[in-house]
């Protein structure tokens, strides 16, 4: 995506970050999985989101980007990413969802002019299970987008310190 100067200025403002995050996710799913994500009209049922991938951001943008989905969605992501090698995708779902989260985080920070430049990403961490709570210390900004992948919810959240 080419961004003009006025769009570049706008991209540094937080009110534009939700659409930029959704665009980042759409590009990753489109290019790497050949899939289009739909906007979700209803909130995601929390008990279905049993896979959480997270990538830490450090530097000019400091916080955490998480991608949460069901284990079935994570396995489907692995299948789509592996293509003809989709056999055994279930065992690779953590790897796949971690890499998707990593690419969404990288793609998003690359779209935020002037801020993403001084920001570094960690390698992804993946948690399976839903009986946990996540608390980012000194959290002063949170946004989430709720999307559908093959009819199942995917929630992508950004928490910044």
């Amino acid at each position: 995506m080419n961004i003009s100067r006025s769009e570049t200025d706008a991209a540094s403002r937080r009110e534009y970050w939700a659409p930029l995050l959704e665009l980042s996710a759409q590009e990753v799913f489109g290019l790497m999985l050949g899939e289009h994500l739909e906007a979700a009209a209803e909130p995601a049922p929390e008990n279905t989101l049993d896979v959480t991938s997270m990538v830490e951001l450090a530097g000019s943008l400091c916080g955490l980007l998480t991608l949460r989905c069901s284990s079935n969605s994570a396995a489907l992501m692995a299948t789509k990413m592996l293509g003809a090698d989709g056999a055994g995708a279930k065992s690779q779902m953590e790897d796949a969802v971690g890499e998707v989260c990593n690419m969404v985080a990288g793609n998003f920070k690359n779209k935020i002019s002037g801020i993403g430049e001084g920001c570094k990403l960690s390698v992804p961490t993946v948690i399976t299970g839903s009986n946990y709570s996540l608390c980012a210390l000194a959290n002063d900004y949170t946004m989430s987008i709720n999307l559908l992948f093959h009819g199942s919810h995917i929630v992508i959240s950004l928490q910044l310190n």
């Binding site: 790497m32 990413m81 090698d85 796949a96 990288g106 793609n107 690359n110 430049e117 990403l121």
Partner: protein, 128 residues
């Protein structure tokens, strides 16, 4: 160049498969594909085997891609072997760091097979 040997360095095995598939979709004639999950493993592979091209992620445990590129000249088998970074770290400073360290090209994730072809062909032709 026909039937080239490629080393793909990425801590994600899924991503290594995607990179290999993209190389084949791009029409490159790939012979052998070797894999490593970080820079240290990649240096060990290159100490044992000769390759024509290395495709390397940046953010990896043990040894990241930038350190790997810096250490590559110390490996006899790897002298002159081109390295192209394939990474989510797409900021200008990362591109400059990678190219200064000796990488010949830089592909941002997510990518298409056409983008892979566009970046790899000039490198293999020795034009970059």
């Amino acid at each position: 160049m026909e039937n080239i040997t490629v080393l793909i360095v990425d801590d994600s095995s899924v991503m290594r498969k995607i990179v290999e598939r993209s190389l084949r979709q791009a029409g490159l004639e790939i012979g052998r594909v070797l894999e490593a999950s970080n820079g240290l493993e990649a240096l060990a592979v290159l100490n044992q085997q000769k390759v024509n091209l290395v495709l390397c992620d940046i953010n990896m445990p043990a040894m990241d891609g930038l350190e790997f590129v810096k250490q590559l000249p110390s490996v006899e088998n790897a002298k002159g072997v081109p390295v192209v970074m394939i990474t989510t770290e797409g900021s200008e400073s990362h591109v400059v760091q990678a190219l200064s360290a000796g990488a010949r090209g830089y592909i941002r994730k997510p990518f298409t097979a056409d983008q892979v072809k566009e970046h790899i062909l000039p490198v293999l032709a020795g034009n970059l």
